[in-house]
Every structure is written in C-alpha cells, then in structure tokens.
C-alpha cells in the first residue's frame, strides 16, 4: 500500500531522486510527445536536423575558413567546424528548450503531480534525436575527407553525456527563474550567441593563450568540443587540465542546480 505524506518540504538536500526514477516512464512519454509534435507540421521534418548544421558549416567554412583564414589544427576546415557544431547545436537546442520547458508545460504544473525535474530532463533528452541524425552526416563527411576514426570514438558518448549535463545544469537555474521572470526567454538567444563565440567552434583552442586556458575551461562547452574533436578526428589529445576544470565546474553547477530547482519548485504551481 502506497503511503504519501504531505507536508511543507524542508532542508536543501531533500532531492527526491527516487521519485524521478519512479516516473521514468513519464519521461519517456514527454520525450516522445516533443518529438511527435515537432515533426508533425514541418514539411521537411527530420530534414531540418541535416540542413541546419550543414548550412552553418558551409557559412563558417566560407567566412572563417576561407576569408578569415582561421587555422584549424591541420584538419580540413569543414570537418573541423562540423565536429564542433554537432555538440554545440545539441547543446544550444537543449538549453533553449529546457529553460523554456517549465513555462511551456505550465498547465501540467498547475493540475497534476509528478516530480518536476522530469520536465527539464525530458527536454534535454529530446534533441539527442537530432544529434543522431546530424551525426550520420559527419560519418559521410569523414569518409569523403578520408579521416579514419580512431579508438577515441568510443569516448564520444561520455562527451555527449557531458554536454547533456552542462545543458541540464544551466537550465535547472534558468528554468525556475523563467517561471518568475519571463526576461529569461528574451535573454537566452543572446546567451547562446555569446556562448558560441566563447567556445572553440570556429577557432581551435590552440588560439587561446596558454595562461588563459584554465579560465577558458570554466566554459564547460570548451571541454566538450575539445573532447569531440579529439574523439572523432584524432586531433591532439585534449588539454587534460582544461577538461578536468570543465568537468568539475559542471558537476558543481549541476548539483547546485538540482538544489536550487527543488527549492524553487515548491511555488511553481502558485506563481506560474
């Protein structure tokens, strides 16, 4: 027999992660819903997951690769930028959608109970689908440029999971703030744009002065992208210091994010 105790929640670390696990099926259904809805009325549908990164890559190659002649560590510029755009596009989508997800599902928050963490979790999972499709294009490009995959490719899921954690960590902060202040919705496109230039997408990390590398690692996406280039293209092994700073910082942000989220969720239904 289930026994539920209802009382005002206390304490910072009462995170109820067990509840999230119990509702994992709902997580699946929310991901499924988002995918269905997204492709329902789009004529090209899944094609967008190919066109978007492909066009961005072409533009970057023309402007940064050909015109600005930004170095790419000896790797053909198209594949150099595409390997970074893969995790970046995933991250940008996950962050944007996840930060808006609580407000988007406000009718659920007002009317039915389930662990609220499920909502941002589901929305960082959904864009993995687009990622998978864009990934196929990368394989085609690698064959075209004759870049042979190395054993490093086995580490790719780890870096992808890392990107997911970064997106989740940030949206656990932005989502609840968005419930109260809709400014977040306006700020996110700028945040994403600035963040993109702060990440080694159009340029290699080797362009960043040595003494700034540790600080640069505080941008966790720098670690993710470094990892992707290394895993896929066999470029120089990633700067270990940079990656570990990235990982540590993200874990900290994520943990604090969950605590912050749990603290804020108490009043979601009342103020949304």
């Amino acid at each position: 027999m289930d026994v539920t105790v209802i009382q005002p929640s206390r304490g910072l670390f009462n995170l109820d992660l067990k509840g999230v696990w119990q509702y994992r099926e709902l997580l699946f259904f929310l991901v499924w819903r988002d995918l269905k809805v997204r492709y329902k009325q789009a004529a090209i549908g899944v094609g967008w997951a190919i066109i978007q990164p492909l066009l961005t890559m072409i533009i970057f190659t023309i402007i940064f690769g050909e015109m600005a002649k930004i170095p790419s560590d000896g790797i053909p510029y198209p594949i150099f930028s595409y390997a970074a755009l893969l995790p970046w596009n995933y991250f940008a989508q996950a962050l944007t959608r996840s930060s808006a997800s609580l407000v988007g599902d406000s009718n659920l928050l007002r009317k039915v109970y389930f662990p609220r963490l499920i909502i941002p979790l589901a929305t960082v999972v959904t864009p993995l689908f687009d990622f998978a499709i864009s990934f196929l294009i990368l394989l085609v490009m690698m064959a075209w440029y004759g870049v042979a995959p190395t054993w490093g490719i086995a580490a790719l899921p780890v870096f992808l999971l890392f990107a997911l954690m970064v997106a989740l960590a940030v949206s656990l902060w932005l989502g609840p703030i968005n419930v109260r202040y809709r400014d977040v919705g306006y700020a996110i496109p700028f945040l994403v744009q600035i963040w993109m230039y702060a990440s080694p997408i159009v340029y290699p990390v080797s362009l960043v002065p040595e003494k700034w590398r540790v600080l640069y690692g505080l941008n966790p996406m720098a670690g993710v992208i470094e990892g992707f280039r290394w895993a896929l293209l066999g470029s120089k092994s990633p700067n270990l210091l940079l990656v570990s700073v990235s990982v540590l910082f993200t874990l900290l942000l994520l943990l604090a994010g969950v605590v912050f989220f749990k603290r804020m969720e108490r009043t979601f239904a009342d103020i949304i």
Binding site: V3, T4, I6, E25, F29, R33, F114
Partner: protein, 419 residues
C-alpha cells in the same frame, strides 16, 4: 494510523502572497525599479506585502470507501485543498497522510496536446495521470469504446469538437483506477448522456471501495453521489456531516446578500445595494414550495441617470441552467428612468420549477438590450418538492390527459397519410 482511514489531514494551512498589479514584477526591470523606489521611499516592500490564507487549520479524516462532497462558494478553499492533497502545491503548515494510490482530476484533458491524434493523446494523458504504459495498452480498447470516438482516433485533437475532446479526456481519466480519487467539478461537463456515463463511472468506483473527494457546485451530483459533505468558507470547514444537512447549511448561508460581486460593481452605472426574497405575504424566506409565489425587492442605486432601463431578474439553477427570466420590457412595465436610489418589487407567478437550488442574477440593460448597466449575482433560494428534480426537466405544469373513446382518430390520421 488506523488501517481504515484513507486520508488524514492535520491542521493544513496554505498562505498565498496577494500581489497587487503594482507589485507584480514580471520582468527584472520592474523588480529593479520597484526596489529602488522602495529604497528611497518610506513605504518599504515589507509593509505593502499582503498575504491571505486560502486554507486555515483544516483537519479532516476520510475513511476508505467514503465519498465525500466538498461544497462552498468560490474562493472558499475547496480547490486549494484538492491541490494540496494531489501534491500540485505544498501546504504552508500542517501535514496530511494518504494511504493508497491517488488519482486526481482537477481539470478535463490534463496533458492533452492539440497537435497529437486521439490515439496518441490517450497514451500521453494516461501517462501523465499516472498510468503505466502497460496499463494503458491493456485498457486501450475499453477507453476507445467508452469515448465512442473510434472513427476519429487518428485525427488530431485540434480538429475535435469540444464535446468530443471532453469525452476522450474523460474516458482516459475514467480508466484510471486509483484507490483515492480527487475530482474537481469535472462531472459538470459534456452532454446529459455523457454526464450519466460519468456518474456510472463514479458509482463503479464506489463499488470497488474507492475513496472519492468531489468538489462541485452542482448540489444534484453531490446529493446523488456522496454520503457525507463538507461545507467550506474562507479557508475553513464550517460544517462536516451528512450530505443533506451540509447542503442545507450551505444554502442557508449562501442566501445572504454578501454574495453580491462587489468587485465588479464599480464598472456599472447601477448598483444593487440590497435584495430580499419573501413569500407572497412579505415574510422573508429562502425556501419555497413548488408552486409558491415569490416577492423580490431590489434596491438599486444609480450613480448617473439611466433612461429606459430594462430590469431583468434571472433564476439560474446550480448546474448553470438559466431557467426563467423576468424582464420589465417583456412584462409590460415601463420606467422612464432611474436615478439615485429606487426600490423595485416584483411578484413572480406561481413558481413551477423543479426542486433544486437557484441563484438570482440581476441585470439592467436598456430597452434595446444593447447597453449593460448592471450585472450582479444576488441571493440564492431553494425550491422544495418531494418528487420533481432536474430529471423532470426545468419546470412542471400539469397537462390535461384523457382517454379517447373514438378510435377512428387514429385511422383517419393514417388514412390521411396515405393520400
């Protein structure tokens, strides 16, 4: 805790911040400017912060298998109580223990998505209401049969009529088989035929020994389903006991004039300042026998002159059926204008309405029914009759019946049809 208790609520209170327009910071810019303003003025934010208690020290015990009705005016705290028990929101203080799987239906169609088809929505909504995928697949055919929408299953829900939407949504919900069901007003939707289906569903849950908490304004469904009812007001339980007594308590209390919607009043040129109901002899009265006449005295106050006013008094049944309207323009009573205070009385014909709970709406328009000068909700009253209830329609007037001895009527009719 005693094994026979399904819900034990212990002194639950819920406080809301009452945020006025000026204090609501929906953007950070407003927050910053407001903070600056309060820093430089003497009325700090702390002083202007208002709160109110939607629930205050509510304690309650519900046994397994009990069907409990919750009645009360808008804002009495009924929905807040259900929201807390369904864990949508947290109490400010107090606690509650619930034994059993809880299902809550606080609205129809929770989790539905417009773009998805009926079939997809059955799965989605089922999962959101707490069913497992396995359970939904198992009951899928049953749900479809119940909704009678098998032909529209692969159509996006956005193309459904509102009736179809409600039917599908409720069909999913009806197959949630919780131990404890929290229901908010959802039975009052859909056509009559479907409403009956919903009642049957609730009764089948009752047979399964489920515990149900039902919030409704419809005294008819409360009466037919519940054995016990709570009457709430201002966040407190004022009465807890047998359903007939609870309804009587509610009706007695909602007969007061305080029911007038004061917040709307300033928008209109005319205000209803007082209203009394009495029997034909003029004795104040709120319960009328079927067939009795009613005297209604309205005290109106016009802040500016209103010419050719058309005063309308409507009786609205508790299930929101507008049953009868008295109207000066139709009844041949002319007033050139009203200005300042005026008292108007009307004596109704014999009221042949069925036994139910009615609320009086007072409307003032002009003769052409164009402008609205007043719309307020006045007191409520009850019509008493042993037999007549809404199953008999809106009103009852005896017809003249007779047995025809001349059977040729029928043959003439059929002969006529043949020509």
């Amino acid at each position: 805790m005693d094994n026979n208790i399904a819900i034990q609520v212990d002194k639950i209170s819920k406080q809301y911040d009452l945020i006025s327009e000026r204090q609501r910071h929906d953007t950070i810019r407003e927050l910053i400017t407001e903070r600056f303003r309060s820093a430089f003025s003497r009325n700090g934010r702390a002083q202007t912060r208002h709160t109110f208690w939607a629930l205050k020290d509510v304690s309650l015990q519900v046994n397994k298998g009990e069907i409990l009705g919750i009645i009360g005016n808008n804002g009495a705290g009924k929905s807040t109580l259900l929201k807390i028990l369904s864990r949508v929101t947290e109490p400010t203080t107090g606690s509650a223990v619930i034994r059993g799987r809880v299902g809550s239906l606080l609205e129809v169609g929770t989790g539905f998505h417009w773009e998805l088809t009926g079939r997809e929505n059955i799965y989605l909504s089922g999962a959101i209401l707490g069913m497992t995928k396995e359970e939904i697949s198992e009951k899928f055919d049953e749900i479809v049969n119940f909704s009678e929408l098998d032909r529209f299953l692969d159509m996006p829900v956005k193309r459904y009529s509102s009736g179809m939407y409600v039917r599908l949504a409720f069909s999913v919900a009806a197959h949630l088989r919780p131990d404890i069901l929290l229901l908010d007003e959802v039975l009052s939707v859909g056509d009559l035929d479907f409403q009956r289906k919903c009642m049957d569903y609730a009764k089948s849950l009752k047979e399964d020994n489920a515990t149900i908490l039902l919030v409704s304004h419809n005294m008819f469904s409360i009466k037919s389903m519940c054995s016990r009812a709570l009457c709430m007001e201002d966040g407190k339980i004022l009465f807890d006991g047998p359903v007939a007594e609870a309804i009587e308590y509610y009706e007695r209390n909602s007969s007061k004039i305080r029911d007038l919607r004061k917040d709307d009043a300033h928008r209109f040129a005319v205000h209803l300042t007082d209203m009394t109901l009495s029997d034909e002899e003029g004795n104040p009265c709120y319960v009328f026998d079927h067939g009795q006449r009613m005297r209604i005295r309205l005290k109106l106050k016009a802040t500016k002159p209103v010419h050719d006013p058309n005063i309308i008094v409507a009786f609205v049944r508790s299930d929101n059926v507008n049953c009868i309207n008295f109207c000066t323009a139709l009844d041949g009573f002319t007033l050139p204008s009203i200005d300042g205070e005026s008292v108007i009385e009307l004596l109704t014909p014999n009221l042949k309405l069925v036994a139910e709970f009615y609320t009086i709406h007072v409307v003032v328009r002009d003769r052409s029914f164009q402008n609205l000068h007043l719309f307020q909700i006045g007191p409520s009253f009850h019509i008493r009759h042993d037999l007549l209830n809404p199953h008999f329609g809106v009103f009852h007037e005896p017809a003249r019946w007779s047995l025809c001895e001349d059977v040729s009527v029928r043959s003439e009719f059929s002969a006529g049809k043949g020509v």
